[in-house]
């Protein structure tokens, strides 16, 4: 059948058509090179992000410190004159808002994930997963719009109640701002935004719990909750941790919802219910950017670099945890 066996030395014309098939090795090599290049490109792009930002923020480090100080003083109303004095409160605000959002979202999303994976009937569960995905698909600007125009007026009575009855806790010290364009409201909106991320990851891991473990627990007479506590949650622990880290990373970098809701301030303050206390890095960049001059942009890009490094580390840690767990 094969032409190679039929003749040991075929004529030159047929040999060329056989040993050199149409567009063979060359295309193969080009394709391979392109694939390798695209793989390497990921490394290059990530390095480029850091390098370009560093390059653009360079006047902050290598430039005239007095002009830098003036620009920063201009941004802060004279409260800070060097970069770290400027980025400190912003960083504090970013971490505060993100951590609060995580605290709120954590229990709710684990509850939803458990509901989808272990409580809801099968057909309902598929529909519920889809609903959670819709939550993830809604653009952040719409959450901002909704938060600013619907949630802010609607939630004031609640925060007011909290300030009156729980005001002895320094965190909730009153009086509650009206309109409540405060850290507490923003954290609530961010919690809604990171909810689907945490839910979808933890749900997938809950579903992977070995059936034998679950049935063993049930067979020993455990109630459903005991079964979950004894078999599902320990199995999913690292997954839960990494999902929360990913949610945290998302909350750290969220811009629009914060920008559209929060009344900004530059303090190291834990007064969640009062306005003009904190601001986040991302929202600050978007807010100051349109009016900033060249050095002002450098300062903002410097703060962006800080944000990049932090989210990078949080995400790296999260992925490391997942990788270790999956081995």
């Amino acid at each position: 059948m094969s032409p190679m066996t039929s003749a040991s030395k075929p004529s030159s014309s047929s040999a060329s058509s056989l040993t050199k098939p149409v567009s063979g090795e060359k295309a193969d090599r080009v394709f391979r090179a392109v694939a390798y290049a695209c793989g390497i490109l990921i490394l290059v792009v990530l390095a480029a992000v850091a390098l370009f930002l560093l390059f653009r923020a360079w006047p902050l480090i290598g430039g005239d410190q007095r002009t830098n100080g003036e620009v920063i003083a201009n941004f802060t109303g004279g409260r800070a004159t060097n970069f770290w004095g400027y980025v400190g409160p912003l960083l504090f605000g970013t971490v505060l808002v993100a951590a609060l959002a995580l605290v709120i979202a954590f229990f709710v999303s684990i509850g939803i994930a458990l509901f989808i994976s272990h409580y809801a009937p099968k057909r309902l569960a598929a529909a519920l997963s889809y609903i959670v995905d819709i939550l993830a698909a809604i653009p952040s600007v719409i959450y901002g719009l909704w938060g600013g125009l619907v949630l802010v007026p609607a939630i004031y009575p609640f925060w007011n109640w909290v300030a009156e009855h729980l005001g002895w806790i320094p965190l909730f010290a009153g009086p509650a701002a009206n309109p409540p364009r405060t850290v507490a409201t923003v954290a609530l909106v961010l919690a809604i935004m990171i909810l689907p991320i945490i839910t979808s990851i933890t749900r997938d891991i809950f579903l992977q719990t070995p059936k034998l473990l679950e049935e063993a627990a049930l067979g020993l007479g455990a109630t459903k909750w005991e079964m979950i506590r004894l078999s599902v949650l320990p199995f999913a622990r690292s997954g839960i941790v990494s999902a929360s880290m990913l949610g945290l990373g998302r909350a750290l970098g969220e811009t629009m919802a914060v920008l559209m809701i929060l009344s900004p301030g530059l303090k190291y303050s834990f007064h969640l219910l009062q306005a003009s206390q904190n601001q986040t890095i991302a929202a600050n960049i978007a807010a100051q950017y349109p009016e900033a001059d060249s050095i002002g942009v450098s300062v903002l890009i410097g703060t962006g670099l800080v944000l990049f490094v932090i989210t990078f580390l949080v995400n790296l840690l999260a992925r490391r945890i997942t990788e270790k767990a999956s081995k």
Binding site: A35, L43, L53, F115, L307
Partner: protein, 330 residues
């Protein structure tokens, strides 16, 4: 309560165990049951709580957005809009320029990121195997998907400022920023799809003497096509709603700009934000009832509604493609 269990005379060496000691008391069983019911209630409550914002967001957007959403709104841009006055066409300005901008910028991001993302996944699955470099890249792709969108915007802005000239704003710059956010999603979904292409197919093709490149393009990628398409659509749905990076790369204008490579461009999310930050429109004292002071907010809601509809439709298409054309598992 009870006496010792009766020990038969034959096995009196066996220790006498008070088995009743291990019987759970009734209150203990009840407590366990109560806890079970309480946790069940909490878990269901968590779900209901999460539904409230979703329903509220969708409902308010629909109700507020439908008020000003008409053909005039979709077919005009924001030129000739003065305060809260009516424009000559009888409307109050519109989002034509934003729709054009959104489509072009997203298309630009697609053209950049889908080929790169697919080829990167091909490298990771087909060529690299489990090499150290591949594992690093895999990890970094994951990390890259967590980059804040505003950092992507700053990156594109800095890159164009250095390579093209300071202060450059163009739609393409926005595309670059968005593709940074889109590539990781495309890589990850493509990777997942390539993993489930059966190895038999590859081996059959290679055994026939087909080159590796042809095996990949004609057999592997074709088998995985539906997953790649649906993954890409979902990635588009994610970046189409991005605001922050476009704020600083694509700028904001009121007229329609169809040139992706020069001049500022408006996209729908940026439009929503800009209208939101206007808060009120001015109406002169002698203006008639045609002048609406709250028009910026109404425009913001309507644009938000259009955006949500686009995103949800894209999501739906992505899911349908994934389901209908999914490779059959044996």
């Amino acid at each position: 309560m009870m006496a010792q269990p009766q020990s038969s005379p034959k096995a009196d060496k066996a220790p006498a165990i008070d088995f009743d000691k291990f019987n759970p008391t009734r209150s203990y069983t009840a407590a366990r049951k109560r806890k079970d019911v309480a946790m069940r209630a909490l878990i269901i409550l968590a779900f209901v709580v999460a539904l409230i914002p979703l329903v509220s967001v969708l409902w308010t957007t629909l109700v507020h957005g439908a008020r000003r959403l008409n053909w005039d709104f979709l077919s005009h841009n924001m030129t000739n809009v003065i305060g809260g006055n009516q424009t000559p066409s009888g409307g109050y300005g519109g989002i034509l320029h934003a729709i054009v901008g959104t489509l072009e910028i997203t298309l630009g991001a697609m053209v950049i990121s889908i080929p790169i993302g697919v080829m990167c996944a091909v490298y990771l699955i087909e060529y690299a195997g489990g090499s150290k470099l591949a594992r690093t890249i895999h990890l970094l792709v994951d990390v890259m998907s967590g980059i804040p969108s505003i950092v992507a915007g700053l990156f594109a802005y800095s890159m164009f400022a250095i390579l093209v000239g300071p202060g450059t704003l163009s739609g393409f710059e926005g595309s670059v920023a968005l593709s940074l956010l889109m590539i990781p999603t495309v890589v990850k979904t493509t990777e997942e799809m390539l993993k489930i292409v059966p190895n038999d197919l590859r081996e059959a093709s290679l055994a026939l003497g087909v080159t590796k490149q042809r095996t990949i393009t004609k057999v592997v990628l074709r088998t995985a096509l539906s997953g790649i398409v649906s993954g890409s659509i979902l990635a588009i749905a994610r970046v189409i709603g991005e605001t922050a990076p476009l704020l600083m790369t694509a700028g904001y204008i009121v007229s329609t700009n169809a040139n992706l490579f020069s001049g500022e461009m408006t996209t729908l999310p940026v439009y929503v934000y800009q209208e939101y930050s206007k808060y009120h429109a001015n109406c002169p004292a002698d203006a008639g009832s045609g002048c609406v002071t709250g028009i910026p907010m109404e425009r913001a809601w309507s644009a938000a509604l259009v955006l949500i509809v686009i995103v949800l439709i894209l999501n739906l298409i992505g899911r349908i493609v994934a389901k209908v054309f999914a490779p059959k598992k044996k």
